[in-house]
Amino acid sequence: MNPVLTIAWLTVREATRRRLVAAFAMISIVLVSLSGWGFYKLSHSVSITSGESNVAVSQAVILFMFMFSFVVALSASAIASLAISGEIESGVLQSIIARPVRRSDVLLGKWLGMVGLLAVYTAIVCGLLVGIVDWSSGYVPPDPAAASGFVLAEGVVLLTFVLLLSTRLSALAAGVVGVALFGIAWLAGVAGELGTAFGIRGMHTASVISQYVLPTDGLWHGAMFYLEPAGFLSQQLAGPRGEPANPFSAPSAPAWPYLTWVAIWLVLVLALGLISLQRREL
């Protein structure tokens, strides 16, 4: 088997054997069950109209996805932080790299395995969520597949970034820095919304820069856009300032040039990770 696929498969096996997959499954069941109960209650409340109920459910779906995107980001950060530095510290990586494999094979294999795990996890949870929301309330977001794709992309961006950090920092430091920067990027996005709403150019600019430096928040806006019902969106856009100052609403999908930048960003950060591991003394 190709060394990259060997390492990718090893990464997936490790997640399974170490019961990471089982933990993900349990968390997902709890998450989706509780959400299903909440969505059922919300959509069957006698005190609100069906129109209000639809808006409430659509907003709750966005909130759920926001929380889930945070779980994906935390999970990505946790597994990526251990991937390189954890194995260097334990000595496991040295015995692999002494074999006739390239260091790039090891890094790409781990990246591929972790992205695969994240993709399956995201697809299952988002699929269950959409299914349970549809069953309990009859509401289906405009494009749940695209929204799930953006949530996954957010996780992949953070995973790739933390993997780069993991080639130099300790597992703990890489994980903490990754999660902290993810949080800062989200806050920068909220600040950008406020800057746009109140005409504060500096805040808007800072937000845009942040979305290019660590594109997690930019991708989250894509997820939100595809979860928003058209009626709710037009209502928001018809507001006094034309754009909503709402951190849980996106007026438009990320443009193709931005998505192209995200792809380039991923390649650049992965390449930096490869160079960093190549130069790392073991």
């Binding site: 088997m1 170490r18 334990s90 015995s95 074999r99 006739p100 494999v101």
Partner: protein, 325 residues
């Protein structure tokens, strides 16, 4: 018992053609020239030059912190030298193709605790690109050789340190390597395990493999090594066969009667005299001087009751060399 290594086995077992190492079969197994490694303010290795011939069991001795593991990491390409160069199996140190022919037991032997011993070995067969049909034989042979056949399907996480070290040795033996680098291979083993390792090293030598044994256990080196290098503070302070190292400064113990007290003080030219009760020790003698010494004593009227040639133990020589540096 290790399986015989042959060109046929190699050709059948590897799914890709061997690389540069096979193209330079006449080259030494290891050739290092002025290898130096500096970590910020610490010089871990200072100008190491050595040549290890093919088929040799070469001991790399030194106290803790002398630079032994650093040297191994440089030879494997796990770290880069600050200056100097090294060739391993005819290719630059760290060459990926050459690593196909190298088995390595790290000092810090850690394997995936969530895999079984059999799975760890299969993983390394895969990384070595051995043809899949050969994996079961390779894995079973390795398990049998290191005495883990009965724990083949147990998780590595349940192994004692000694068993993990045995597994590491098994991993190093996969694919019939041309060069086996063992970094402190018995550090976690009991006396039986140490005996087994010595036996494995002898079997590797018998089938023509080169063994680079990195150790601070001198007894281990005395049992199996053809030649050794003694390393101290990052420098090679002596290299040679064990006999050469031990015999560099021969000495002799004497018991002599019939001469006045301190008679030996007039015979300083033979070496350094040390009185030890009824015995006298003459150290640092020039080679072949013992008959002349005995004749000189007899000519002075002395009765030579005993002459016992002394050879330093490796440990004595080792400590002496370390004191000198």
């Amino acid at each position: 018992m290790l399986p015989a290594r042959s060109a046929e086995r190699e050709a059948a077992g590897r799914s890709e053609s061997p690389g540069a190492c096979a193209q330079a079969p006449g080259s030494p197994a290891i050739h290092a020239v002025a290898l130096r490694k500096r970590y910020r303010d610490t010089v871990a290795l200072e100008g190491l030059s050595m040549t290890v011939g093919r088929g040799e069991v070469f001991g790399f001795l030194g106290p803790n912190g002398s630079g032994k593991t650093t040297a191994v990491k440089l030879l494997l390409g796990l770290a880069r030298p600050t200056s100097g160069e090294a060739m391993v199996l005819g290719a630059p140190a760290g060459d990926r193709e050459a690593r196909r022919q190298i088995g390595y037991l790290p000092e810090l032997f850690r394997f995936q605790s969530w895999l079984t011993a059999r799975e760890v070995l299969a993983l390394h067969c895969n990384l070595l690109r051995l043809a899949r049909p050969h994996w079961p034989t390779e894995v079973d042979t390795a398990l049998h050789t290191v005495g883990l056949a009965d724990r083949a399907d147990a998780k590595v996480g349940t192994f004692s340190k000694g068993m993990q070290q045995r597994l590491g040795l098994g991993v190093a033996l996969l694919g019939g390597p041309t060069l086996v680098i063992l970094d402190e291979p018995t550090s976690a083993l009991d006396p039986v395990g140490r005996h087994d390792v010595r036996q494995i090293i002898r079997e590797l030598r018998d089938r023509g493999a080169t063994v680079f044994l990195n150790t601070h256990l001198l007894g281990e080196a005395e049992h199996v090594c053809d030649r050794v290098t003694i390393l101290s503070k990052g420098r090679a302070v002596a290299t040679g066969t064990l006999a050469e190292l031990k015999g560099l400064r021969p000495s002799v113990r004497l018991r002599v009667a019939g001469l006045p007290a301190n008679w030996w003080q007039q015979m300083a030219g033979f070496g350094r005299w040390v009185a030890d009760g009824d015995w006298l020790l003459v150290e640092d003698m020039a080679a072949g001087k013992v008959p002349e010494l005995v004749a000189a004593i007899v000519s002075r009227g002395g009765q030579v009751e005993a002459v016992i040639p002394q050879r330093q133990s490796l440990e004595e020589r080792f400590l002496e060399l370390l004191e000198e540096t």
